[in-house]
Symmetry: C2
Subunit: 389 residues, 2 copies
């Protein structure tokens, strides 16, 4: 289907269709319907679409905000081999709406910075992202709208259990992630300063800013205002399709930078008009997702703050970090602006600001600049990984 | 009511409550309910709230997009006196959601750049803004959701009729406006190059960018997705309150710059929390408005493009301008970024880029920086008005 979109009217250099295929998995699968019934096998959040991945049973897990997830399971995958010294592990954290699959397909590879030939690369799906324990896949009365509130700190504590218990790993050569993955990266560096040797938060802050949180709340309102959402008690994500499309429209405005849209850079992805791009990329990306899962992740995102570990003192929290940190904002990001990232970098002892040049804005994380983007990421990460700590 | 909001927790220097009062007129009036019935006297769009103003009867007015407004009336007001040479007239155009009142109260005054002692200042409400002919106040089957589509060019042609017919004015010393008012300013300068001697588009472009249009469409979706909107056939704006509040939330995210929200600058307006600011400022500003009126103005905004006069050629259109132009973007504006304004300025023969420093973002137009903002506006406008042409 994507091939037919690369019409004759397309202008601009075309980026590999791999990116589009990585993101619009649902359009390629059988409809991407997610059922609200706990016994239903989601076609979107499945091994077929996002796998292969493994599940690690954490057990009942008490959350910072007061709730408890029964039988918490983390979906994860690894690439490469843990060496004998157990000092070559890299952790990759996922972003809002994302799974580990996209990083596996686009951010790691032989000869790249995240090289499975050199490193034991662990990718863990954040709680509530649809693969790890999430509202839509949690059976019983604790699922769906009643799935408890999760904080970034809960994710990091659960990830710590998996990493230390399963492999006995005591240090991480690098923690890296984009957006909410960056928020988890910051939390890791502050919470486990002796364990995290290097950290690379890409396009994400240690504390969510008020504007970023306000944007995230407009996404909630887009979903909740759909009568089909029904207080989270829908029968299928397709009941909330209008709300999810509104969410996708908001992401178009806020996720992409003005100049990227002005230059019609979506043509490089094979789309013929902004409407085509909205319908067959943005909508196709969000519509198959589960609204309660997104609600859960948005709640978490709105409240990310490493300062919670130090009584609200952001400087004190960042001052704890022992890792070598490359703070990597995207130049045109309006959700996690360079200025906000730079301010946090200045509070972080052994750190550098490495701005990624891109016209794309926050969703530059999707790699829509192709090689120009990934080369920068790899350059910085290679230098960071080669830095003595 | 506003006074009680200035609690002890308020931090930061407080800007005059005049700004808040200027914008939140509805909260001070009796509920601000707007009826969909044509014979209803709106409490919000009224002489009591937005007056005094006059009405000029244009008569039946054929629109560029094909429709016709029956008995088009423009609501306008003037300050100062037209001199004998009829060369001291200044035209002020209004922005989306706005009326002439705010400019009367905050942008003009004795000793200011827009000085009624020196100039004959004409303020005209754009079509569809609630005071001039608009969906909600047009009787019969041509009102409400069936009010025809209006373009910026229609406004400017209608304003031209008023100005030339009523006063016999053949030249305008200055055309100025913010946001959609800037879009009208650009249209004036391109359409009537011999008449416009000076132009100052503030925080607005000659052609709406794709991102800006996409944002505007999310506002439409916020209103339309409210079941109370009912395809535009609501009985009262209060039926669409949830949608209007969603619109207000979107404006919080896009209208204010990240840093302004981060520094909690709303405290300077007398609000105690972001929630308080959202409810009692942003919501209070938008909720009394008429959804069909906003829909009409948003449609217009999404399609602003002076290049329509030259077969789509923006450079050719701007090249026509004979006026001395000061292009005045706000430094932190994400809706009409400096880069977009600068690109148009470069295409404009006798022009200069004058960036207004402000942390506030696009809604810096509301004057929330107080004197620091208005002093810059006045400085630039005075220099422009003193420039020989």
């Amino acid at each position: 289907m994507m091939k037919t979109l690369v019409g004759k009217r397309s202008a601009g250099k075309k980026v590999s269709g791999k990116i589009v295929k990585s993101l619009i998995i649902a359009a390629l699968s059988a409809g991407g319907v997610v059922s609200a019934q706990a016994d239903y096998k989601s076609e979107y959040y499945s091994q077929a679409v996002h796998g292969p991945y493994q599940l690690y049973k954490i057990g009942d897990f008490a959350l910072e905000d007061g709730g408890t997830i029964r039988d918490l399971q983390l979906a994860y995958t690894t690439h490469g081999k843990l060496n004998r010294a157990k000092d070559n592990a890299i952790l990759i954290c996922t972003w809002y709406s994302g799974t580990t699959k996209f990083w596996e397909q686009n951010y790691i590879g032989k000869g790249r910075a995240l090289d499975p030939d050199k490193y034991f690369i662990i990718l863990i799906n954040q709680i509530g992202n649809g693969l790890s324990s999430s509202p839509h896949n949690t059976p019983g009365t604790g699922g769906m709208a009643k799935f408890p509130h999760v904080r970034i700190s809960d994710d990091v504590r659960a990830q710590y259990k998996l990493i230390t218990e399963k492999w006995g790993i005591k240090e991480l050569a690098l923690v890296v992630g984009g957006s909410m993955g960056a928020e988890q990266t910051w939390e890791w560096a502050v919470r486990y300063p002796d364990m995290v040797k290097r950290a690379a938060p890409i396009a994400g802050t240690a504390r969510t800013t008020p504007q970023c949180a306000a944007f995230s709340r407009t996404l909630d309102e887009a979903r909740q205002s759909d009568p089909g959402f029904n207080g989270g008690n829908y029968k299928s994500n397709t009941d909330v399709q209008a709300g999810l499309r509104r969410e996708a429209a908001l992401w178009t405005v806020f996720g992409w930078a003005p100049e990227w849209l002005k230059q019609e850079k979506w043509r490089t992805l094979g789309f013929s008009s902004l409407e085509d791009f909205q319908t067959n990329f943005m909508d196709a990306y969000f519509v198959p997702m589960d609204p309660n899962d997104l609600m859960n992740n948005a709640w978490k995102w709105q409240r990310a703050d490493v300062g919670r570990q130090t009584g609200g003192d952001l400087a004190a929290a960042l001052g704890r970090i022992k890792a070598k940190v490359f703070v990597m904002p995207i130049a045109t990001d309006h959700l996690f602006p360079v200025a906000d990232c730079a301010a946090e970098q200045k509070l972080t002892p052994n750190s550098e600001l490495r701005v990624i040049n891109s016209l794309a804005g926050h969703l530059g994380l999707f790699g829509v600049d192709g090689k120009a983007y990934f080369d920068q990421v790899d350059l910085h990460l290679k230098e960071l990984l080669n830095s003595p700590v």
